[in-house]
Amino acid sequence: MYAIITISIVAIIVLFFGAIEKKAPLLPVVYVGLSLAFILNLVGWNQSVHYYNEMYIADNFSIAFNGVLIFTTLLVFIFAPVYYKPVKRPLEDIYALILFALVGSLIMTAFGNLLMLFVGIETLSLSLYILAGSKKFDPNSNEAAMKYFLTGSFASGFLLFGIALLYGASGSMNLEAIKQYVILNQAHMPGMLTIGLLLVAIGMTFKIGAAPFHFWAPDVYEGSPTLITTFMATVGKVAAIAAFFRLMSSSFAEVESIWKLTLTIFAVATILIGNLSAFYQDNVKRMFAYSGIAHAGYMLIAVIALKQQAAGVLLLYSMSYTIATITAFAVLILVREETGTFSIKAFNGLAKHNPREAFAMTIAMLSLAGIPPLVGFAAKYNLFVSAIGQGNLPLVIVAIIGSMISVYFYIRPVIAMYAKLPSGTAAIDSSSNYKKQITLAAVLMILLGLIPGVFVNLI
């Protein structure tokens, strides 16, 4: 709760600084604020506090995920200056919007009431709509924003209607109450509740960008400013999946029969479509969009295999996904700055001049592909095992085949970097702490890969 407040305040301060045309203090303020928020968030660990009669629940689950989200945002902000190097103006609006989006995502992970879920989602989405279009004079950016907006608002329409139906059926929007209601009449579910649940599920599926509601993702990811894409692909996705997980686990765990098959089909479709479509991408940015879709599919497995362990697994997975993706995007930003293209060729011979970036990128790719001993493998491994533990072997087999396919396109940048000759001559220069971050991320991916147990058993 304090985290949310802090961040909101920081956002307002940022806006204020922008208003008085001060560029210098902006980022420091953000850094400090986020770090503060991170710490405040951790306060109250193991004592699940409820705010505003169960509107907002700060239990370990939400705290852990919020930690991840805040940390990710911090990383994004660290990469910001390099990305916005050419821009003169303070960019307070963009920073503030990112912060507000973060607030939305924090609410999503911790909602105790469908109302808060909706509010959180909308806070996140609305901010993202604007951010997606924040390159005002870039038609791609505009188009991305428009597409995102249209599909997004459409989807939230369904979500909302679903919530309404749930409310109608159960008579409450409180997760706990709904759970009670569901337990009471497991025997004969009113059709209204089923429909409501499905609509909500669909809405969430859209937000995490899983098939068959993934179509917006590639276009939006490609069109939006890369930094924003990074934010969307990490914070947006993780928050959505966490919210989805929370919803399902806290209210509808007992009625798997209604939604399990549907979600399984979603997951299978997502994994296959995501990986196969990424297979042929030459545009790396877009490739990451598809890889993001694929990973959404994997995360859905965690939702499907609902048991206590799964929360931890999901946490680990989202961490691995976030770190790897953010590292990859960071390098991508660099390369883009240098070569002006997102094509895979841009990576040719990167290892020659920028060994450190290349190394980080390699680690990220391998981690995403799930090659041991990196965190990506640990995450997948735990995910699959917990899924199998509850008899989802076919699903897991599909997932394995998916990641088999994924190896191919994840390895392509690596090959380009190491085995192809560089096109440019000079090394791409990047600020020193940028380098530090990238290296840190790479190290993290290895370390977490070595001690995944910590996080799996965290919540």
Partner: protein, 109 residues
């Protein structure tokens, strides 16, 4: 207040549900059928408002204010949404000189 609820309850709940569903479907169809962004916004609004109506109806029938409170939130969000939507529309129009959504086809494959 009580009388209003009583009057509301004279109409069976199913009617509200059906009506709202119909309204919602109209919204959906509008979104699908139209290629003009502006109209699509309006259809989306229709969808949201159908949900509002549904919530209100439920809350009225259950004597539970939560639903109606939610409606206010939704209205706020909807307003914000429209604002953003129109803003984007303007931007897009500036670049493509049209508000036909089929004109948005730079990003694909």
């Amino acid at each position: 207040m009580g009388t209003t609820i009583a009057q509301i309850q004279t109409i069976p709940l199913q009617y509200y549900i059906l009506f709202c569903s119909a309204l919602f479907s109209i919204g959906v169809i509008g979104v699908l059928a139209k290629r003009n962004a502006l109209v699509i916004f309006m259809s989306v609004e229709l969808m949201l408002n159908s949900a509002n109506l549904l919530l209100t109806a439920f809350s009225a029938y259950r004597n539970d204010p939560a639903g109606q409170i939610f409606v206010f939130f939704i209205m706020v969000v909807a307003a914000a949404e429209v604002a953003i939507g129109l803003a984007l529309l303007v931007v897009v129009y500036r670049s493509t000189k049209t508000i036909d959504i089929n004109a948005l086809n730079r990003l694909k494959w």
